[in-house]
């Protein structure tokens, strides 16, 4: 059974207008997506800014209102209860944020930051709590004497690891990682990604890994899904997407990745041009009225593509 099952999720934001502030229109941030994540799996969610990928993460955590659709966690429908403060679901799902500078309270010590979820859900003595925090710090490779420091005393990579320690404090089953390394330098990014992988292996956590960086996603995720215009355009295994991209948007996304080999520069530029021309030409083939994404159709057992 899947750990998390999302069925036909829709998140629409109202647009208010006029003197009376009535709802004049809706912004369809997420418009009918379905997916499942099983235990210990990493699902990559790739898309450009504005595609709705972060909204999906927020909806799962109850941080944005769900307009329609269902979210099942461990087989139970939690669509309505997700916004309740002490729901047990809240304990099992955690989040790692992109901006390490604003996601840690600057006036709290590391000890308090990491212990906050523990204090909300578990009754621990001071000594027990301290022991747990030290263990958590050790998991992310920080020494216990960091517990009494404040966030400003750490570098970006260390801060993100504090964020990771906080997220795993309650031994969640699922962590939503919203662009966890986008703000970090490559060498630091490598540290955080390695830690995320180790933790997954040790604790068997499932990740919903949201990112725009196809390099990072390829490294982290066995399964991925590409999002465009609030809908999924293609889902499949890593091999399906990178070797047999079918939807024109996926092809365009992959063609846009700059190659690390300067000798292939001309070849890549030519390929990019070709795919872009195709993207403009085949708009009607892949999109309804130039924008709407079709429903996913199976190409193989694992590979689904949105097409007519």
């Amino acid at each position: 059974m899947a750990l998390l099952e999302v069925k036909d999720l829709k998140v629409h934001y109202p647009v208010h207008g006029g003197i009376l502030g009535r709802v004049v229109d809706w912004v369809k941030a997420v418009d009918g997506v379905s997916f499942t994540i099983s235990e210990g799996q990493t699902l990559g969610l790739v898309g450009e800014s504005g595609s709705g990928k972060s909204t999906i993460g927020k909806a799962i955590l109850g941080l944005s209102h769900i307009t329609a659709g269902k979210i099942l966690f461990d087989g139970k429908d939690i669509t309505r209860s997700v916004r309740k403060n002490r729901s047990p679901f809240r304990k099992s799902v955690q989040m790692i944020f992109q901006d390490v500078y604003s996601s840690l309270n600057p006036r709290k010590r590391v000890l308090d930051i990491i212990a906050e979820p523990l204090r909300n859900f578990e009754k621990l003595s001071k000594a027990e709590e301290r022991k747990r925090v030290d263990e958590l710090l050790a998991i992310v490779g920080l020494s216990p004497d960091n517990a009494s420091k404040y966030p400003f005393e750490f570098s970006g990579g260390q801060r993100q690891r504090i964020g990771v320690a906080r997220a795993i404090a309650l031994k969640p089953k699922l962590i939503v990682c919203d662009e966890p390394v986008s703000a970090l330098d490559v060498s630091v990014q490598a540290q955080v990604l390695n830690h995320l992988k180790d933790i997954q292996q040790e604790l068997g956590i499932a990740y919903l890994f949201i990112s725009h960086d196809l390099g990072v996603v390829r490294h982290m995720c066995e399964d991925l899904t590409i999002m465009h215009n609030a809908r999924f355009v293609e889902t499949g295994t890593r091999e399906d997407i990178y070797n047999e991209a079918t939807h024109i948007y996926t092809k365009r996304l992959i063609a846009a990745i700059p190659d690390i080999d300067p000798l292939k520069r001309k070849e890549n530029a030519a390929n990019r041009k070709e795919v872009n021309a195709l993207y403009d030409k085949e708009q009607d083939v892949w999109y309804k009225n130039g924008r709407g994404v079709y429903d996913l159709k199976p190409v193989s057992d694992t590979h689904y593509v949105a097409m007519q």
Partner: protein, 335 residues
């Protein structure tokens, strides 16, 4: 100075004041930018690459910044110019493209007016000529509807269109040198590809040099001719883009290349660099600055006063520690 040199940087030192004391963020950089080349400056945050770019165009805050050394542009030292002379250079001789196009532009001015502003300062065109030139520039940077964009405000444009507008402003007065500070970092990957293609196309069209500052080695591989890798205020390696990627020498360059997760290949684990980048106050000022990140290497491998070694023609590397090729040995250590 040879004939094809456009910009020569001699022993540049840029220091910032911290608690009353000045600390050098750029510490003795020597560089030559040739005519019609794209020169990439690569490094992680805090290595001094942006501080260097700002000091070339003298945009740093003089209240807490000191610059020493020489920046010779066509033989004239930019650092000793008067503010009025400098105003002619900025925009006229050197164009700038910044990371965040929304903050780089005036939110209250229409795009057309912002392009014309540059033309007003650096050319003698009449109003009608300026408008014609602005429209031409907007078309040149790939705007679908130049006449519409001309009358729009920055907030009405998408990220890619904004960066195109900033590029139009930067190239308006036909400068010989463009300094692009992380021009694609804030953009999506498809937009990034478009902007890189545009920069490349502009260069082949009109010539001119570009200093490209970035942390993304893939962007460097895509567009640069020559590369300098910066670490802790110093340039640790300079080479042509082909030499650098085929034969990276300095341990820092090699580590950077290894720690990138690639979209084209998979590895089980990523390479990490031990320790953290030292803060400006704690920079080691003597010896090899990278030594503390590779502690398993014997001190005798480093030079006491690191110098540049020309390994193959045009490929320079700082310190002798590049001679040890082993990447292993505790490289997966954590901070």
């Amino acid at each position: 100075m040879s004939n094809d040199t456009l910009l020569q940087i001699k022993d540049l030192r840029v220091s910032f004041r911290i608690e009353g004391q000045y600390y050098a963020a750029v510490d003795g950089v020597n560089l030559e930018i040739k005519k019609d080349e794209v020169f990439a400056l690569v490094g992680e945050s805090g290595c001094g690459k942006s501080a260097m770019a700002l000091s070339i165009s003298r945009l740093h805050n003089e209240n807490y910044t000191q610059c020493a050394g020489e920046v010779l542009y066509e033989g004239k030292d930019l650092l000793s110019m008067t503010p009025a002379e400098m105003n002619n250079v900025r925009g006229g001789k050197i164009g700038m493209i910044f990371q965040d196009p929304l903050t780089a532009m005036n939110p209250l001015m229409r795009i057309g007016a912002q392009i014309e502003e540059t033309l007003t300062y650096h050319t003698n065109l009449s109003r009608a000529e300026k408008k014609a030139r602005a429209l031409e520039l907007l078309e040149r940077v790939g705007m679908v509807n130049p006449a519409l964009t001309y009358d729009q405000f920055p907030h009405e444009l998408s990220g890619g269109m904004r960066q195109r507008s900033v590029i139009a402003i930067a190239i308006a007065a036909k400068p010989d040198l463009i300094i692009a500070d992380e021009p694609t970092t804030a953009l999506d990957v498809t937009i990034q590809a478009q902007i890189l293609d545009l920069l490349d196309e502009l260069r082949t069209g009109t010539g001119g040099s570009m200093i490209l500052i970035t942390h993304d080695l893939a962007v460097v591989a895509d567009i640069a001719d020559r590369v300098a890798v910066m670490y802790a205020g110093q340039i640790v390696e300079t080479a042509t883009v082909y030499d650098l990627f085929a034969n990276p020498l300095h341990p820092y360059t090699r580590s950077l290349l290894h720690s990138m997760p690639s979209a084209l290949t998979e590895e089980a684990r990523l390479h990490t660099i031990q320790g953290i980048v030292p803060t400006l106050k704690n920079l080691p000022r003597t010896g090899c600055r990278f030594a503390e990140r590779i502690p398993w290497h014997n001190a005798s491998l480093h030079e006491e006063n690191p110098t540049y070694h020309e390994v193959t023609p045009g490929h320079f590397v700082l310190c002798t520690c590049y001679k040890t090729f082993a990447l292993g040995g505790g490289t997966h250590g954590t901070a």
